[in-house]
Symmetry: C2
Subunit: 358 residues, 2 copies
């Protein structure tokens, strides 16, 4: 048995499974944001044709998986496993959304870090030789999340400045054993098309900064994000500048600032760091307070804009760090603080001419 | 890359990771049941010294992991990953229970099948060479589950005959790369002690029989259990009689009868089939209606009685099939049926003298 771990808490995917295809869906707020053109499907109807917000989120999940399968030109029957999750109680958006696929199903709960968790586990399943091909998916819905984690929308409560806007969206990716095209394909016009690959992972350790305000999730998750990124750099010997982009899932303005600040205090100025919660909305023009959040935030930005930029070679080396707040309305109601988690995964284009990069 | 899958939806663990240690905890109903002496810890206090039932379940989770680590003679720092889940909204029993362990954490939601899911994923992580050692854990609590899935206990509703009693309990197992002792150790008195190993898995596909009664979960899950067991036998070429015991997680009397019936109609009489929900309580003497249920049911029976019987060689080949109902109070309230899932995992003693068995 070959041992794949790097440092204490990171490991490499020896075969570097490819992300063969990906898709993202969103709703009206996402269609007004700066990344609108990178979505595969945007709906004006927050119900996605369903009777309730919860059913809408299942439909969103079903649809994003179908879109990703279509782009991979495969049927669900060709998937060995689906790894999926969402924020609803008992993760029903994903289980009901995958109910008719007929594929072995692993339900996950990593709060808003779920997509990164799914990406790591599906890449492990492929890299370990357990399946040829799997899917990772995650979703969130503003209306189902608000009434689940905070207050019913009908209550009309005023949002605090630290609050974030839960993305109504989902992302899905098809993870496959590396193929001939993994090293890039030259198009008729000479342009290269790359198939990004999953190379390294640093799974998250639960960290609790003692924050109890469920309208300030960014601050609650920031310590986990800092700690995972720090461990990733330590374990792999890669500095922050090894990446074209380091991107957290949904810290928003508050959490993003805290992570930057932690690194600055440890002597590192991050120059290539961003957060999906800051990218998906225009914080100046859209009324989203501290930015986007939700399991669909990182999933949709990665499976839309970011992997698209990797496909064209504008980005070649991305560290995607999904962030999650592991609380519930019950734990908050019982006076508990909010534990955070952050799973980091390195995604790289690995054609011949980029192999030299470490 | 070696391909490990067997048949369409099953795969083998080439290195057959060992279950190095295991532990189970329960409360008063479990202490009155026939398996009481096989628990590592039984509490008369349903609160486990905490202020709320939800905090009690976190404590139960923390304690069972600590007991398993103690029996494996290792500290949490020696774990590469924890795979865990429970039935609470947003799976907070496990995340709060693992909050202080400092170990990479993968939160799972497979409803009552969660322990089987955790066992498969931790064995995949070890077998794939990603970690040397991981933990699988799952819990449930009668009081937190009742108010989450059905009605608040204070309501005092009468339970229907098909209802099951959610186990207040948890199980944890330490999964390690196979070691010298994996083949069995001869004790001073000549008796052999075995270390059971994880050899095959058939992950579950979501199946929905259209049942909507959340007080009849056994019936809702039975079709998934039948289908997974049937696929396991087909994929692996092993018939039911290859096993000393085939055991589902928590189908109870109703679901157990349906699975037996399905097999009988397909021409197979199961002679070595049981269900953890029928084993953990005395259905004649204890007021549990159709039997035990919950993520803690299968986890505690496996990590107490069953693995204990394997350790002494009374059982050598067990097919553990965790069963889960992937609904929530919200989906039931919105008129949805209850999708079921069942993850099967083969656990075997593999000393030299048993190698011949297929």
């Amino acid at each position: 048995m070959s041992v794949k771990y790097v440092g204490k808490g990171s490991f490499k995917f020896e075969t570097a499974p490819e992300i063969a295809a990906w898709a993202s869906v969103g709703a009206s707020m996402e269609s007004q944001g700066p990344l609108a053109k990178h979505f595969d499907y945007l709906s004006d109807d927050a119900y996605f044709g369903q009777a309730t917000w919860e059913k809408a989120e299942s439909e969103l999940h079903r649809r994003v998986l179908e879109l990703a399968l279509g782009k991979a030109k495969i049927s669900a029957a060709e998937l060995g496993m689906i790894f999926a999750g969402d924020l609803q109680n008992q993760c029903t958006a994903s289980s009901f959304g995958s109910r008719d696929e007929g594929v072995p199903y692993f339900g996950l709960y990593g709060a808003c870090s779920t997509f990164a968790e799914a990406l790591i586990l599906s890449a492990m399943a492929v890299d370990g030789g357990f399946i040829e091909r799997g899917a990772a998916a995650a979703s969130s819905h503003f209306c189902s999340a608000e009434r689940q984690f905070r207050l019913p929308l009908e209550y009309g409560g005023q949002r605090t400045p630290t609050a974030q806007w839960t993305v109504t969206g989902a992302g899905a990716a098809i993870i496959s054993a590396a193929s001939d095209r993994s090293r890039g394909i030259s198009e008729a016009d000479g342009a290269m098309i790359y198939t990004p690959r999953v190379t390294l992972a640093t799974p998250g350790i639960i960290r609790d900064a003692g924050i109890k305000d469920s309208a300030n999730m960014g601050a609650a998750m920031a310590i986990a994000a800092y700690e995972t990124l720090y461990r990733h750099f330590e374990d792999t010997g890669r500095g922050p500048n090894s990446y074209d982009l380091i991107v957290t899932g949904d810290l928003g303005a508050i959490g993003f600032g805290i992570v930057e600040d932690f690194f600055r205090k440890s002597g590192t100025k991050l120059t290539n760091y961003n957060d999906c919660g800051l990218m998906i909305y225009d914080l100046k023009k859209q009324d989203v307070h501290a930015g986007g959040s939700g399991a669909g935030c990182g999933a949709a930005v990665l499976c839309g804009y970011l992997l698209g930029e990797m496909r064209s070679g504008k980005l070649n080396k991305v560290l995607f760090a999904g962030t999650g707040a592991l609380m519930s309305a019950i734990t908050s109601g019982q006076g508990e603080s909010i534990p955070g988690i952050c799973h980091a995964v390195a995604i790289e284009n690995l054609p011949e001419n980029l192999r030299g990069s470490k």
